[in-house]
């Protein structure tokens, strides 16, 4: 039988990378994504005896990470925690040029829109499931999602034109 700790370790190891990837889409930088995901796991660890009984503990951790990502005050606290955290940061890996460009474009969207995009297009949740996870009406999710999609499409198209002009 797994001990409580082993159980947490297995869950952490299996889900950490994936959650960092999802949060990257929302927060736009790998460091900040790791920061909020780590803080969410720190909180899950403290309450693991209950969080593990959830049907999808990963959804709980993701929700806490998204909450953390959405507050400026929390960002300052997180930054403070980051500076004193255990385990020095390794060499910062470089994202590809395309990825950096896409994160920059995504940052022009409101945070709630990015959140809806990642839950729908990356996590693969339905609009109903997103409404359940965020605790908001289905109509709100639909509106955020369609606005975010339309704006992202416009921004990406405009960037495409710019590149076209630069090279043409």
């Amino acid at each position: 039988m797994m001990t409580g700790d082993g159980d947490f370790e297995a869950f952490y190891t299996a889900t950490y990378d994936r959650l960092v990837g999802q949060l990257l889409v929302v927060v736009g930088s790998l460091e900040e994504a790791e920061d909020v995901v780590q803080e969410a796991f720190v909180r899950a660890c403290g309450r693991w005896s209950h969080v593990r009984d959830y049907e999808v503990p990963e959804a709980w951790v993701r929700r806490v990470a998204l909450n953390l990502a959405s507050s400026g005050v929390r960002r300052a606290r997180r930054r403070a925690a980051l500076l004193v955290r255990l385990g020095p940061a390794a060499d910062v890996p470089a994202l590809s040029v395309d990825a950096v460009a896409l994160t920059r474009t995504l940052r022009k969207l409101p945070l709630r829109g990015r959140e809806a995009l990642v839950l729908h297009h990356v996590v693969g949740l339905s609009v109903q499931e997103i409404a359940g996870e965020l605790g908001v009406p289905v109509g709100t999710v639909t509106a955020r999602l369609s606005r975010a999609r339309a704006r992202l499409a416009r921004l990406l198209a405009a960037e495409g034109e710019e590149i076209g002009h630069a090279h043409g």
Binding site: L24, R47, S49, H50, R77, R85, G87, P88, V118
Partner: protein, 366 residues
């Protein structure tokens, strides 16, 4: 933009992020979790502070490795070709058993006047998950048995109507509380369809007698209620048994080290992977390796292939790493021939310390 194109670009970005993620060792997460609770219990209020102020407070409250500074020799050059410390296959040191103290016969049951209590909770996916932490007051030594009774209060201190349940299994012998140790009890609040209670508080009744109103930890979202999922059904508050909080290990001076990996040009399945790990000491005091750490090394491929080993670091030839100095250790990890070629990461971490690093690797066929 087509929908499948959007899916592809966003999923591609998330995958790239996942590939580049650098998870700290689970032990580091647990350590931070315990430190967070300590800091909250100590009432260090970071909320509302500007970034600079917040950093100063957090630094001041973080434990700094201290103790008598014994004259430690600075880095000794290992007597090996190239100055690289040879690899040793020594098995890892078994972790010290973290068994909570037994309750001596005749220990009195804890009553409210013997304890301090703090509480905190988090909201996510509709429920609030939290815990109450109990510590000894005025040197009291007592035992907590079974389950606490927890009541949620509205801003006027009136009890919110909830159906209470239990989860988990209670320790038969109870949990010993004495100065320097703590007990916790977790709780989950779901399905609140009643009126807005304002700032939520707690009241805890102990099986040994007496009632406590825990101090709510800074940063707890007190304005939040559980989500209304089923308007016809009662609100539920489930709580766990008293559990011993594991004592926090003293901070290790090894936490000040940084690690980097040196990889060979090719990594081949079926052959031992020979690489190096360099430990650097950016601090201003020598770091002794007398308390030699164990480490985990792992190749984890995206095709689910993996190779994991744990060993004791070969500390004997080094002794200590001087300020601003570095020592390179030879490492060996056996890669089984059945490992399918593919890309992934090589992780190296001193698990009990939380210092480690990882680099991308590509394993090729034999």
């Amino acid at each position: 933009m087509r929908m499948d194109e959007l899916d592809e670009r966003l999923a591609g970005l998330a995958e790239e992020g996942a590939r580049n993620a650098r998870p700290p060792a689970p032990a580091a997460i647990r350590h931070r979790s315990r430190r967070r609770r300590r800091r909250q219990a100590a009432g260090v209020v970071l909320l509302g502070l500007a970034l600079v102020g917040a950093v100063v407070v957090a630094r001041a409250s973080s434990p700094v490795p201290s103790g008598p500074v014994t004259p430690t020799p600075t880095t000794q050059a290992p007597a090996t070709p190239g100055g690289i410390v040879p690899w040793s296959s020594a098995p890892p040191r078994p972790p010290a058993p973290a068994r909570p103290a037994a309750v001596p016969p005749g220990t009195p049951a804890c009553t409210a006047d013997r304890l301090h209590a703090t509480a905190g909770w988090e909201g996510a996916t509709g429920s609030l998950v939290g815990s109450v932490r109990f510590t000894s007051r005025a040197g009291a030594v007592c035992a907590l048995n079974g389950y606490p009774t927890i009541q949620l209060l509205d801003q006027h201190g009136r009890a919110l109507p909830t159906r209470t349940g239990r989860s988990g299994r209670s320790q038969a012998t109870g949990v010993l509380v004495r100065p320097g140790t703590a007990a916790t009890a977790a709780f989950v609040w779901s399905n609140w369809c009643g009126p807005n209670p304002g700032r939520v508080g707690l009241r805890v009744t102990l099986p040994g007698g007496g009632t406590l109103v825990p101090t709510v930890e800074a940063g707890t979202p007190r304005e939040l209620t559980a989500r209304c999922d089923a308007p016809g059904a009662p609100s539920s508050l489930s709580r766990g048994p008293f559990a011993a909080e594991r004592p926090e290990p003293p901070p290790s001076p090894l936490e000040g080290l940084t690690a980097t990996i040196g990889l060979p040009p090719t990594v081949v399945a079926g052959r031992p992977l020979r690489y190096t790990v360099t430990l650097a000491n950016p601090t201003e005091r020598p770091v002794s390796l007398r308390d030699c750490p164990s480490y985990m090394e792992a190749v984890l491929l995206r095709n689910d292939g993996k190779a994991v080993e744990r060993h004791l670091l070969n500390c004997a030839p080094v002794g200590a790493i001087g300020p601003g100095q570095r020592v390179t250790f030879a490492m060996v990890l056996d890669l089984p021939a059945r490992l399918r070629p593919g890309a992934g990461v090589l992780t190296w971490v001193m698990e009990s310390v939380g210092v480690g690093t990882k680099v991308p690797v590509t394993v090729t066929g034999p």
